[in-house]
């Protein structure tokens, strides 16, 4: 497939999101619709005592978990397939196919739960759905059409794998993969438009009457920040789930060859998860900055109001993820014979990761009772209070990222002995990068304490630049320095069972984290279906307590993990042959 053809397809898909870019039929609709509906409490159907919000919450969250996974895996499947073409190593191709195999099993469940979600919303929130359909008009039908196209391309992509494996046919196969990802991302962007419209409506007047085009409603202020955040989070999430699959298969397998394969797959998945995860805090920062810019009240509700405690749970979850990912990487040092040389540094990295986690989890501005104020002797703790503000947290998260990268780098180097004459000098440059970068991160953090707020925010920029400079600089130097290096054997499969459970922590913690962030994002609308436009007058128009939310999130995560482990088990069942039937297959 030529690039021009692909470009034409992508342009057509973009136009499909906003049909009125091509068909200017908005004025007629605007005349019909006067404003957003104002449902009273009696307008919300009550059916058999079912809690409509909890049901919609569970269905939406399950759909989101599955969809995030199903959309993310083809992204790195095609990247892995491309790696196989570049390196000529069939292991990458086999792994990409196996990634897709898990996706196939999850895909039908995604559609099933998505259909269930739609049904729940139409039954319990008919006025809201009716209004959204009027705002987004034909886009919803196009979404359904895209879903059909996604199904077709997904099946073709997976089932044509062996038929289009070699020579030029491989490029045809990768083109199908590219098309699949284009449609998948378009689907996500369309769904994000509806979600972000509910938070920051556009293309309508204050009464809710439609005054703009579908494109204006789509391109609301929070659409793009949400797109980027979900795109990166999906990659991290997909990597974590596939890592969980690899860990499961590693634990279940007895055959050393297969164990080695799943160990390698687990390592690669962990790598993908962390690569997606590293830029995520920065995308999150952009999203929150845009929320503040759109509505300062909404921003304060998130960061300094009743939702502030939730960011403590977020810190605990991210801390768990960082600790587990690093523990897995340190365990991986035993795969190489030279790994022990690097093991002595692990304790120092552990101190930084745990220290960073403790700083991140330290609260600052919280709603306190008078008795708590009395115990603290003020609204902030005298010693620990300063650790709760942004300069400390920015420093902590940047150092955690730098040292996680160092864990990766140690394993990468442990299996390669450089042969270039300038290796010593290059190592000195890498060390200098770390020393200068870390000093800069710490220095900018200290500067943040002694400068007014406006510069405090600015101080985080050199910290991020330092982190990225260390990572990118080290990667570039390592690539050139280790070109033609003496490769030492990596004993794939030489891993403890405990390390696999660490790998399994990632999907569990990521899933709970996604549930938590979804709860926060939805709660920002407070008692509005569509912020400032359509009030939620149902009995559930309040923000549930963190404990109640935690129970729902735990239940959905457990349900999702049970489904995924069942999918893993099915996948393994598909490979199992009855004794005596091997020849028949």
């Amino acid at each position: 497939m030529r690039f021009s053809t692909l470009f034409a397809i992508m342009a057509a898909l973009t136009a499909l999101i906003a049909p009125d870019l091509l068909l200017a039929a908005t004025e007629e609709v605007a005349q019909v619709l006067e404003g957003a509906p104002k449902p009273s409490r009696m307008d919300y159907p009550v059916i058999a005592g079912i809690s409509a919000r909890t049901l919609a919450w569970i269905m939406a969250q399950m759909h989101l978990f599955l969809a995030a996974f199903v959309l993310a895996v083809p992204l790195f499947a095609i990247a892995t397939e491309f790696m196989s073409v570049v390196t000529g190593d069939d292991r990458f191709d086999n792994m990409a196919r196996e990634f897709m195999k898990i996706t196939m099993a999850a895909y039908s469940l995604t559609a099933l739960v998505g259909g269930g979600l739609l049904l729940v919303l139409l039954v319990f929130y008919p006025q809201l759905m009716g209004y959204l359909i009027k705002v987004f008009r034909g886009q919803m039908l196009i979404y359904a059409a895209l879903f059909g196209m996604e199904s077709v391309t997904l099946y073709i992509y997976f089932y044509s794998w062996d038929a289009l494996r070699r020579g030029n046919r491989k490029y045809y196969h990768m083109s199908i993969g590219l098309l699949l990802n284009t449609i998948g991302l378009t689907l996500m962007f369309v769904a994000n438009a509806w979600t972000s419209f509910m938070m920051s409506p556009a293309g309508i007047d204050p009464s809710g009457a439609i005054t703009g085009t579908v494109w204006e409603a789509t391109r609301n202020p929070l659409w793009n920040p949400l797109n980027l955040h979900r795109f990166l989070a999906n990659i991290a999430y997909g990597g974590a789930i596939v890592g969980g699959y690899s860990a499961y298969m590693f634990l279940a397998e007895k055959d050393p060859v297969k164990k080695a394969h799943y160990d390698w797959m687990g390592y690669t998945s962990n790598f993908i998860a962390i690569v997606g995860f590293i830029p995520l805090p920065f995308a999150g920062y952009w999203l929150m900055a845009e929320i503040y810019a759109y509505s300062q009240q909404m921003g304060i509700t998130a960061m300094g109001g009743i939702l502030a405690w939730l960011f403590i749970i977020q810190a605990v979850l991210i801390g768990t993820i960082m600790l587990a990912a690093n523990y897995y990487l340190w365990s991986g040092l035993m795969r190489t014979d030279r790994g022990a040389q690097y093991a002595k540094y692990v304790k120092y990295i552990a101190v930084v990761i745990v220290g960073g986690f403790l700083v991140w989890v330290t609260p600052h501005t919280l709603i306190l009772s008078t008795a708590e104020i009395q115990n603290l002797g003020g609204t902030h703790h005298k010693i620990l209070g300063p650790l709760g503000i942004m300069p400390a947290k920015n420093t902590a998260v940047n150092l955690m990222l730098v040292f996680t990268f160092m864990s990766f780098q140690m394993f990468y180097r442990s299996s390669r002995v450089p042969v270039v004459a300038w290796a010593g000098a290059a190592n000195m440059v890498v060390i200098a990068l770390y020393v200068v970068g870390i000093t800069n991160i710490a220095g900018a953090g200290i500067y943040g304490y002694i400068t007014p707020t406006v510069y405090k925010v600015g101080a985080s920029v050199p910290q991020v630049v330092s982190t990225l400079t260390i990572i990118i600089g080290s990667v570039i130097i390592d690539v050139f320095m280790l070109r033609g290096a003496i490769s030492e054997k990596v004993h794939w499969g030489r891993m403890t069972e405990r390390s696999q459970y660490a790998l399994f922590v990632l999907p569990v913690a990521f899933t709970w984290l996604m549930g938590l962030m979804g709860y926060i994002r939805s709660s920002l609308r407070t008692n509005w279906h569509i912020y400032t436009i359509m009030k939620d007058n149902s009995v559930d128009a309040y923000i549930p307590t963190v404990g109640d939310a935690g129970n729902v999130i735990t239940a959905v995560t457990l349900l999702f993990m049970a489904v995924m482990v069942f999918v893993f088990w099915l996948s393994r069942l598909g490979q199992t042959k009855q004794k005596g039937t091997e020849a028949a297959s």
Binding site: P206, Q296, I367
Partner: protein
């Protein structure tokens, strides 16, 4: 078997997260239906009180108008001086530009609620807007949706704080609009916003010699800062029977202030008490000037506005102090007051400012002055 082990592991991990969520403070939602209060027959005192509760409740004003630098700290600033200076500011071109008097201030406040970008206080504009666009929401639109009567009540409250007689009309009987009782996040009654009102609300002067009540059922609180720390004062209010002052009986002071009192009220009362001067012997009271208990009293007492342009004094013998908190740390500012000739601002002369403020400004007055100056907007 692997299936069960992995599921079991997931359950344990998820159980930890669920448990952790339960251990955090649970902010219970207020599920009661909004209460409607008739404003029919409301007098001006009632309007001011309604405005105050709207300011801290439904209006969500204190979400940003507080001491955290998100917006000017309206409840702490000297509104009597601020409003006229805003109207006279050449940057302001709104409905009251160049005018004076309480009616002009009423129009200015209403305009700032309905069109917040009409005048943006320097340093508080939207990022990148060069202080031409305000981040403040329009209060008569969603999500705040104050009614015209509610906006009038807020104006009356702010005019009252500025020492003016409110000029807003009272709600008429035929209009008889109703106002929702402000949401106060589950608390029964909205908090009061100044220390003396808090002392009235909790009837402190009935037993303690406060506001010249002369009561002696509880200990004398004048000069308490010299005998107790801030934490001890808080403890004495919240858990009064933990330590009983010599010569007084246990069990007399209510023990439920930790449940009844809003945090902000507790802090107001504690700050007020810590700033109380020692009860001076009778013969000395005629000779010594009493200790100031507010920042503005300190500024008056030591004549700061005679040389510095403090909220409209326009004096230029000393440097401008607006926004000084963004240019200096608290310690630097204190040093500039107590040792003024150590560093002289560019364009100003040394030896102009008295160098004995380190001795003459009392320990209880200095924090009040520093708090005020550090929070002065640009």
């Amino acid at each position: 078997m692997t299936f069960l082990r992995v599921i079991g592991f997931s359950v344990v991990l998820l159980g930890f997260y669920a448990l952790f969520a339960q251990t955090l403070p649970q902010v219970e939602p207020d599920l009661s239906d909004p209460v409607e209060v008739s404003t029919d027959g409301l007098d001006m005192e009632g309007m001011i009180a309604l405005g105050e509760s709207l300011f801290t409740g439904k209006g969500t004003c204190t979400l940003c108008h507080n001491g955290m630098g998100r917006a000017p700290d309206t409840l702490e600033m000297d509104l009597a001086a601020t409003f006229p200076s805003r109207l006279a500011d050449p940057k302001y071109t709104g409905v009251s530009a160049g005018k004076t008097g309480p009616e002009a201030i009423e129009d200015y406040i209403r305009e700032s609620m309905q069109h917040p970008s009409a005048y943006v206080v320097a340093g508080f504009g939207k990022k990148g807007s060069n202080d031409t666009e305000s981040p403040m929401p329009t209060v008569d639109k969603a999500p705040i949706e104050l009614s015209p009567v509610e906006m009038n009540a807020v104006i009356a409250f702010l005019q009252d704080r500025a020492g003016l007689d409110p000029t807003v009309p009272l709600p008429s009987a035929d209009e008889a609009p109703v106002a929702e009782e402000p949401a106060t996040e589950g608390m029964v009654e909205a908090p009061v916003t100044d220390a003396l009102a808090a002392i009235d609300k909790y009837n402190c002067a009935a037993c303690h010699n406060l506001k010249d009540s002369g009561a002696d059922l509880g200990p004398e609180l004048g000069g308490i800062a010299n005998r107790m720390t801030r934490a001890q004062v808080m403890e004495a209010i919240l858990d009064p029977n933990a330590t009983i002052a010599k010569g007084f009986s246990a069990g007399l002071m209510p023990e439920d202030f930790s449940d009844e009192m809003h945090t902000s009220e507790l802090l107001l009362i504690v700050d007020y008490l810590l700033a109380l001067p020692e009860p001076a012997p009778q013969e000395e009271t005629d000779e010594e000037e009493p200790l100031a208990t507010t920042a503005l009293e300190v500024i008056d007492k030591f004549g700061c506005a005679g040389c510095h342009d403090l909220d409209g004094s326009e004096a230029d013998v000393g440097p401008r102090l607006q926004g000084v908190g963004q240019r200096m740390t608290r310690e630097e500012l204190k040093s500039a007051i107590t040792n003024p000739n150590a560093t002289i601002a560019k364009g100003f002369e040394p030896d102009m400012m008295p160098d004995d403020f380190g001795e003459t400004i009392a320990d209880s007055e200095m924090p009040l002055l520093l708090d005020y100056l550090m929070n002065l907007p640009e």
